[in-house]
């Protein structure tokens, strides 16, 4: 049995596939029909993530598919000690596609190798969350009209933030100019900077937020996550360093939009929300159309739109 096409890591999709998903998401945003009627999608969440799960479930429902699954491993056989393998073997007998979230890194790759149906990784620990990257790309395309030749400024936790790492890798195929703004403790890891250099792309690194955002097309904010720190003193030191306030946006470009993977804590103050450059809530809405496109693509391949 050959493995069905899955989406575990952003590298699993070629540039053409990334562009296809972005275009399909745009077309679903205009119009969609219940083309997946008769299909069943499982959302199996071994750790809770209400936002992500609802986004996937709505996406499947809007295309006419039915959804089964669990939102927490506590009431399943997993709590009796069932292995991940057995759970995946069972569920993949029943459904046409699996959306999985799991706290352990690498779990989605493993599931995709034993499942008889496609698997979408909805987050495997600190490793990958590729549908977030695709919805970010769709948001960028939608607000800028293109993906090529943009200045993308990433702010906050660039060391541990998996979303910025995946987005960096995906955008590196589109001649992006990157600016990294982070405290010294949370700088972009060398392996990613080296990757950009190998791709012939330029980037600059800064520690000051206010002085470095005026040339951005996309300002990508991230949350400094408490759980990533072994040293809580260090967390206290850096958590309030990068707070975006409305007053800082005065000289930014008119086309600039602020993205954030959400949830935010205090890195974007509430007075930014009413600024037309604030795009994070619509970004989350774009996630639903993007996930519709991904589910459709994995079940149907490239159909004529």
């Amino acid at each position: 049995m050959s493995m069905p096409k899955s989406l575990v890591s952003i590298h699993d999709f070629s540039k053409e596939e990334l562009l296809y998903i972005v275009d399909l998401a745009a077309s679903f945003e205009k119009e969609y029909k219940p083309v997946l009627q008769g299909k069943v999608v499982a959302t199996i969440f071994f750790e809770p993530s209400t936002r992500t799960r609802l986004s996937f479930e709505t996406a499947a429902n809007r295309l006419g598919a039915r959804v089964v699954g669990f939102s927490d491993a506590d009431n399943t056989s997993v709590s009796k000690g069932e292995t991940l393998k057995d759970t995946i073997m069972m569920v993949s007998n029943y459904v046409d596609l699996i959306v999985m979230r799991h706290p352990k890194e690498g779990s989605a790759r493993y599931a995709s190798e034993i499942s008889r149906v496609p698997v979408i990784n909805a987050g495997d620990g600190a490793n990958q969350h590729p549908t977030q990257t695709l919805l970010d790309m769709y948001s960028i395309k939608k607000t800028q009209g293109r993906l090529d030749n943009l200045t993308v400024t990433m702010v906050g936790d660039l060391k541990y933030g998996r979303t910025v790492h995946s987005l960096l890798q995906a955008l590196s195929q589109f001649n992006t100019r990157f600016k990294f703004i982070a405290p010294p403790e949370l700088r972009m890891p060398n392996e990613y900077k080296q990757y950009l250099t190998e791709q012939g792309l330029s980037f600059t690194e800064h520690t000051d937020l206010a002085e470095n955002i005026d040339d951005a097309d996309i300002l990508y904010m991230t949350r400094v996550q408490r759980e990533r720190f072994s040293d809580l003193m260090e967390y206290e030191r850096v958590k309030n360093v990068y707070v975006l306030k409305n007053s800082l946006l005065k000289n930014t470009k008119p086309n600039m939009r602020i993205l954030h993977p959400l949830p935010r804590v205090n890195e974007i103050s509430a007075d930014v929300d009413s600024n037309p450059k604030a795009y994070y809530f619509e970004q989350a809405r774009n996630g639903m159309f993007t996930r519709m496109a991904i589910i459709h693509y994995l079940l149907h391949g490239k159909a004529t739109l």
Partner: protein, 157 residues
């Protein structure tokens, strides 16, 4: 009878001499090749002078020959090792360890949150060579385990 004893250590009639093992890795090599369960005559030498490695170890095994798979399993910890195949006291073949592109079920992933450390899953790595050093990229969690943190999974655990 002193000379005969020496002869036993220094030469074997048929078998394999594994040379150029870093001294510090001798016991790991023994483990990986499963030699503790081997019933043939085996001689180990450790902390021997080596122009190449500074200090080396060797293993001589009578009547035992190794497959490429076995040889490449030790690439991770003894990339310079040489397998000399001995027939009738003569070296008839010298085989060099080659680093395989993928390594299955030998090493443990260094990432404590990797699924392979929590579920009964055979580990799988892609090898990455950066200059002299060998590192392993976990096929599952995508994290890098470098030579310093390399832990070998033995048949006992």
């Amino acid at each position: 009878m002193e000379s005969e004893k020496q002869l036993k250590v220094s030469a074997i009639k048929d078998g394999t001499v594994i040379d150029r093992i870093p001294s510090s890795q001798l016991f790991k090599v023994i483990e990986i090749l499963g030699l503790e369960y081997c019933e043939k005559q085996i001689t180990f030498g450790m902390n021997l002078e080596s122009k190449h490695l500074g200090s080396k170890a060797i293993i001589k095994i009578s009547g035992r020959f190794f497959e490429d798979d076995d040889i490449n399993r030790i690439a991770l910890i003894a990339p310079e090792a040489k397998f000399n195949v001995i027939k009738d006291y003569k070296v008839i073949e010298k085989r060099q360890v080659a680093v395989p592109e993928t390594i299955v079920g030998i090493a443990k992933c260094f990432n404590p949150n990797c699924v392979t450390n929590h579920q009964p899953i055979v580990t799988r790595f892609h090898t990455l060579r950066t200059g002299e050093n060998l590192a392993l990229v976990c096929h599952y969690c995508e994290k890098i385990t470098d030579a310093q943190h390399l832990q070998i999974i033995t048949k006992n655990n």
